[in-house]
Symmetry: C2
Subunit: 362 residues, 2 copies
């Protein structure tokens, strides 16, 4: 079932208003979810609304709070998100970094006491629109089992990296783990099987039933007596395939977020304080060359890669290709809403006095 | 067969002197190779000497050249390595970045017209010794097949990231691909099989004979009519296991090195101009908190991870654990020299009038 992006946006803005977010913050939150749905990243779209709503109820999330600057230098910011949604502090921070980097060529920021911030790519794309290289990362709930471990500790720890290019920027945006938990949630909602080696049980045996995994991850992420198993690091189940590199990548994000922010580690967000930390950086490529020349060189490189010899029936895609194609298609055909998400929209809508879009009532 | 690190160092310094490197540059080059052998990273140790020597002969490498600063700002450097070894420009650059970051909290540099620089970790560990976070990357020869591709384009594109911790820093240091070509070379020299899914043929079928792969990679890396196949991206053979994330990681390094430097892409270093590019960054963690508190928090986190439940007969190791253990062991027992590397040492030694250490003649 599909609705137009504008219809989704209006519904979300009305809900967020009823939840006491300011008009500006509600518009930002709605934009991050609509943007994810347009890009086909439905794991980070409107399907998160029910979760956001639960967090307001249990006061994990305070809708009216605003971010505070704790420390500022010409190249850096330390921000307290003040327990509001991650999107609010993140967009605030990225706008400030863009200004700093226009002055000194590079700047970076750490946010503590934050929450889920949507897709990491949303903020690094803000840098890209200003002609800058953007980096955006977050830690998350505990989900990921280190190499050889049989219990979760790390978050899926997202990383986005953007670089100006034509016809669209390079946008690498995803969990450093094999997959984000959202991707498993989407399969579970569809009653589907997991097609690859994504998650393991307490003996590090690979599991394929998405609902089984999702039930286990929910316990791992939110309970004190954490069961074993979790999501694998990039590189999969076996050390011989260098899965310790995926472990290392995820640890780097944990160092830049939970550690630099002196917030909770991913491992400790399962109970009690549920604070995520974020790290952002912007770099001006003009430090090293004419931005237009660099952009043209990147564009040429990507075209060469897209045209390399490849397996019949497959395509070579540059990070971002898939999302920008979905974006253009979904602007025309509307964004997809699965039945369970519709049910959740109806529940949240009923609770906050916002009618579900007419197109979804048919 | 083993020799002491000091014996290895003396042999290397004598060879580099005979090859017309300055005493200072020769000592640096020797130190990077001895350091790699001590850490058990034999792929980047003295086994590279024969290759370095070939590059001097074909003028890919000019031993007496010195790096030049092309552009400098309070937060950045653009350096021309002037076709000498990567180590020389890289150490020069990292020392300057450390000074800049002490002033403004963050700085970054790009080197063009460079060459192999040893282990990436050598330079990021320099930052760590100064209490800073260090990042060090390079592109390389073309070796790595993008997701779905059947021919190589990317380099193995190394990334090192270091963060101060006790009893030793966090040192993530390795190829962004499943493995570096050096790791395959070491197995081939031993006549061994490849234990995992590391390399594929022109149909993306996994190959396991190290010598077959090494022969193929040598053609891919150095010939105009490149045969198919190459090393896999982290995540392996199948898109379903998110190997496009490994592809993305490798592309990020290519953007920061070959593209920002306006040097050759990895893909184009196989013939003609054989120039690598490097990217470095240093960050002062004091921008965000008391460095001693951050260090203590990191140390505690790593200890918790090392003690997670894990598979019987395995260990959970933090990046750096293995290398620092090898370092301590090899300082006592000496570094390991394989028979083929000994033969190469004898050839290079004979050519440049340097006697192979007596311990190796037995």
């Amino acid at each position: 079932m599909r609705i137009s992006a504008e219809t989704e946006r209006q519904f979300l803005e009305a809900v967020f208003k009823a939840q006491r977010f300011s008009a500006k913050d509600g518009a930002l939150l709605a934009d991050t979810l609509v943007d994810a749905d347009l890009r086909g990243i439905s794991s980070h779209g409107i399907q998160r609304l029910a979760w956001y709503t639960r967090m307001i109820k249990d006061h994990t999330l305070e809708p009216t709070n605003q971010p505070k600057i704790l420390n500022e230098t010409p190249t850096s910011l330390l921000i307290d998100a003040n327990q509001s949604m991650g999107q609010i502090a993140s967009a605030f921070t990225m706008n400030k970094l863009i200004e700093k980097t226009k002055q000194l060529g590079v700047s970076l920021a750490v946010i503590r006491n934050s929450n889920h911030f949507g897709t990491a790519g949303y903020y690094s794309r803000m840098a890209c629109k200003a002609g800058l290289i953007g980096i955006s990362t977050t830690n998350t709930r505990p989900l990921v089992v280190p190499t050889n471990a049989t219990e979760a500790f790390l978050g899926s720890n997202a990383l986005a990296f953007t670089f100006p290019a034509d016809p669209h920027p390079f946008v690498f945006d995803g969990a450093t783990a094999v997959v984000s938990s959202g991707k498993i949630q989407v399969l579970a909602k569809k009653g589907a099987q997991i097609p690859g080696d994504w998650a393991v049980d307490e003996h590090r045996q690979v599991l394929h039933d998405a609902q089984t995994v999702e039930d286990n991850l929910a316990k791992i992420a939110f309970s004190e007596n954490r069961p074993g198993g979790g999501v694998l690091t990039l590189g999969g189940q076996q050390e011989v395939n260098s899965n310790y590199k995926g472990f290392g990548n995820s640890l780097i994000i944990e160092l830049l977020t939970g550690i630099l922010a002196q917030g909770s580690l991913s491992a400790d967000t399962n109970t009690g304080k549920h604070d995520f930390s974020q790290f952002f950086m912007t770099i001006n490529p003009a430090l090293f060359g004419d931005p237009e020349v660099l952009k043209a060189n990147v564009t040429t490189m990507f075209d060469r890669i897209r045209h390399l010899k490849h397996l019949p029936g497959t395509k070579i895609m540059i990070p971002g290709d898939r999302e920008y194609r979905h974006y253009d298609e979904n602007l025309v055909q509307g964004v997809s809403i699965d039945p369970q998400t519709l049910t959740e929209m109806q529940q949240v809508g009923a609770e906050f006095g916002v009618a579900v879009p007419a197109a979804l009532k048919a």
